[in-house]
């Protein structure tokens, strides 16, 4: 074999284990659940192979699934908005701070290393009946009886914001950090106030980062089932809880397949729209 041919083959040899893994452990399984979603769970518990539309009909027409899907999207949207409002000024501060930028960035990375389940359950220590808030309020004599503030939609959103905020701050920071500060100075010297310089120059330039952070917050938020199980009440199920319920509890795998694919289509569409207009590169900057 010629040197060129060997040279051309080499990258494929290096790539083949990873590509095989992704093909066999992601793409083929995804195709498989497409097929599986047309099978049918029978009364005996066995799955009947065939082409049945029952699961899809149930998933797409039952108001129960539709309402929870819409509610899940609503929760993800509120979470994303809250992350943007809370995270943007913080990211701006980090990007423009001089002395302690390194330590602020290091602190920003820490939440990524602290377990999701621990960060989620930590709110029980704060808002629970014998948590910090109630204990403090009772000690101050403001309330006599502890108030149950947990296990509702608000605490689910709170937990999600706490989990996802670092993703937002990091992505906005990455794009703010890449903006030449001379641009703001130039705007100032041309007569813009500091606020005008921000809204007309810096903010538009940082929108790609805001969009990347927003996409991550929304997609990760809408795909969770742990937060509602830990911080939500019995009626606060999100769409991924339905998937978990169908697959793990009811063992109705054909229906679970259909529900999974519904979630994939809805969230995948967002990723594709994002990719179409902004490209994946921005997203990878924040992750890498």
């Amino acid at each position: 074999m010629s040197v060129e041919a060997r040279e051309a083959r080499q990258p494929w040899i290096l790539l083949s284990p990873a590509l095989t893994a992704v093909a066999l452990l992601l793409f083929v399984p995804l195709l498989f659940i497409v097929v599986y979603s047309f099978w049918l769970r029978t009364a005996t518990g066995a799955d009947e192979v065939g082409f049945f539309l029952d699961n899809w009909q149930e998933a797409l027409t039952d108001a129960f699934y539709r309402d929870i899907l819409l509610n899940t999207l609503k929760i993800a949207a509120i979470t994303t908005l809250a992350c943007a409002v809370m995270g943007y000024p913080a990211a701006y501060f980090i990007a423009r701070s001089k002395g302690n930028k390194a330590i602020l960035l290091l602190l920003l990375m820490l939440p990524f290393w602290i377990s999701y389940i621990i960060r989620t359950m930590s709110w029980i220590n704060i808002l629970g009946v014998s948590g910090a808030f109630n204990t403090a309020m009772m000690a101050l004599g403001i309330i006599d009886e502890p108030i149950q503030m947990l296990y509702n939609e608000v605490t689910v959103i709170l937990g999600l914001v706490h989990f996802l905020l670092p993703f937002m701050v990091l992505n906005v920071f990455v794009s703010l950090d890449g903006i030449d500060t001379n641009l703001e100075d130039a705007a100032n010297s041309l007569g813009a106030t500091r606020w005008q310089a921000f809204t007309n120059v810096t903010l538009p330039l940082s929108l790609p980062g805001l969009a990347a952070g927003g996409l991550l917050c929304f997609v990760l938020g809408a795909g969770t089932y742990i937060t509602p199980l830990v911080l939500g009440g019995p009626t606060d199920a999100m769409f991924a809880n339905l998937v978990f319920e169908a697959i793990i509890t009811q063992l109705n795998w054909p229906l679970g397949s259909a529900l999974s694919l519904m979630l994939l289509v809805v969230l995948g569409a967002l990723v594709l729209i994002y990719n179409r207009y902004l490209g994946m590169a921005q997203l990878m900057k924040g992750l890498g």
Partner: protein, 261 residues
């Protein structure tokens, strides 16, 4: 004035991120038998009880073995793929990159369901193997992203110099490229281990009955009742997942200093 507002806002945001976690650590040293407020004294009793809890120790062993194996496999696959993408001009490299990071573009629940159902169809039931395969595919994109970002900064000149001085490609790889890549490889492995160690979303789908990892063990304990041991367990986990990377960072810095980097 505006800048001060931004400063105060930032302080509040950091407090929001860290205060609840700090409370977990604080309460893990609480002497009270309920593991909640008020603090009645300082004590290590919950850590002692943790160390004697067979289920928790088992979960730790499972998590560590799983994390190490995941890191090994996923780093091997990831480093090879990153080398190909950074070092060679591969036709369609954009598409390949997207395919390789696809596991994190798909919601983890969906990945979990697809893998569980497909491998079950292949007669691989819920088992440690399934858990391992799931963690490998989920951590692979992160490894590739991290390793690729660091590989770009290694210059080819050094390798070419070695080759021109008569080193074989094999010698060049093991004596020049690999040592230069080592920080990237370690960073990738550490990342894979941490993500695997923390994962719960996929793990709950893949783990066989009776097998628990640390996060699923915490989850199970939460569902029963808030046992005071949870805070202690949380503290141990924070020390592990925050302390270890910080240690790694410090070591990397020392090594870089010594080699004059």
């Amino acid at each position: 004035m505006g800048w001060n507002l931004v400063r105060i806002w930032t302080v509040l945001v950091y407090l929001f991120m860290f205060l609840p976690v700090a409370v977990v650590v604080l309460l893990s040293f609480n002497a009270s038998q309920f593991g909640s407020f008020p603090m009645t004294g300082f004590s290590f009793r919950w850590f002692v009880e943790l160390a004697q809890n067979e289920a928790i120790l088992r979960a730790f062993r499972t998590s560590i073995v799983l994390g190490l194996l995941t890191a090994m496999i996923s780093t091997t696959l990831g480093v090879l793929a990153s080398l190909a993408l950074v070092r060679y001009r591969v036709p369609g490299s954009n598409l390949i990159s997207t395919l390789l990071i696809a596991p994190i573009l798909v919601p983890e629940v969906v990945l979990a369901v697809a893998l569980l159902l497909f491998l079950n169809f292949l007669q691989i039931n819920k088992s440690f193997t399934l858990l391992l395969l799931g963690h490998v595919i989920f951590t692979l994109p992160f490894v590739i992203l991290v390793v690729q970002a660091r590989l770009v900064s290694i210059k080819r000149d050094v390798e070419e110099a070695a080759m021109s001085l008569g080193a074989s490609p094999r010698q060049t790889f093991f004596q020049i490229t690999l040592p230069l890549m080592l920080p990237a490889v370690l960073a990738g492995a550490l990342f894979a281990f941490t993500i695997s160690f923390d994962d719960i979303t996929g793990t709950l789908f893949w783990k066989p009955g009776g097998v628990e990892t640390v996060p699923t063990q915490i989850f199970a304990m939460l569902r029963n009742s808030i046992s005071p041991e949870i805070n202690a367990l949380g503290t141990v986990m924070i020390v592990m997942t925050v302390g270890l990377p910080l240690l790694g960072l410090a070591i990397a810095r020392q090594v870089a200093k010594k080699s004059g980097g």
